[in-house]
Subunit: 140 residues, 2 copies
Amino acid sequence: MAIDPRSHTPVYVQLADTLREQIEAGELAPGSALPSEARLTQEYGIGREAVRMSISLLRSEGLVTTVRGHGSYIRETPQRRQVEVPPGASVIARMPSGGERRSMQLDEGVPILEVRDPKGNVEVLPGDEVELTRPLSGRA
Amino acid sequence: MAIDPRSHTPVYVQLADTLREQIEAGELAPGSALPSEARLTQEYGIGREAVRMSISLLRSEGLVTTVRGHGSYIRETPQRRQVEVPPGASVIARMPSGGERRSMQLDEGVPILEVRDPKGNVEVLPGDEVELTRPLSGRA
DNA sequence: GTACATTTGTGCGTATGTATG
DNA sequence: TCATACATACGCACAAATGTA
């Protein structure tokens, strides 16, 4: 898909959409590198700022990670371990604060799951590694 | 907190931390506007790029939203409605794709919850409006 | 309607630092 | 050592959106 500078949607959103499509279509395989900033700048005839913002957007969606001095790579989602939601518990999803992200060593664009059990204990789980489950039979 | 350009932590991270503190402390109330880019540039004696990256960071954390030609605003989190996790279901948290984000009208930095019931039906819920629950008694 | 100020979006130039190969 | 590539940071300029007079 070509980029239209006169479109109402910002150029960097258009490029992010294009790259996202390619990633989801498998044209850009997990683990492989995105084209470099300079490459994308030339390829689509847009500014470096727009390219950087596109990649930043994809990072915030958890689709790519960027390695400084090396490039940006399509993220491979790790196996999710199953975690049971305790009876009487509640769960919310939210993005981590900067401190949480650093201490939990989360990539950008990875949400967290906050599980609060009836006693008020809160467990914070990395959203990309966890699948919550509720078993059919309601035993703890 | 003042910004130290010689610090090892990037200027834009320092500013984001400062603004985050002010937001979490309530000095910047939900619904109110952040200072403009120009204002922050002067206020903290840093460049516009650093200011914009700070705000971009806060957006990706779901703390603020930006309206072109208007400004950036502290997000007000809506009341979370309670949604019960069906017996036998599994839940994952992830960031929405661009299309999902637009069709569900989600702000940046808002994760989604994907609930898959035993029959394979998938429900996609906005992470900022939902609190998942598992009742104490295991009835559906 | 017009005009204007404000604010964010985009593009470009430059520079330094850091990491990899 | 050298080239490449990204990260950070500053500057300037203009475009586009918004709101108000």
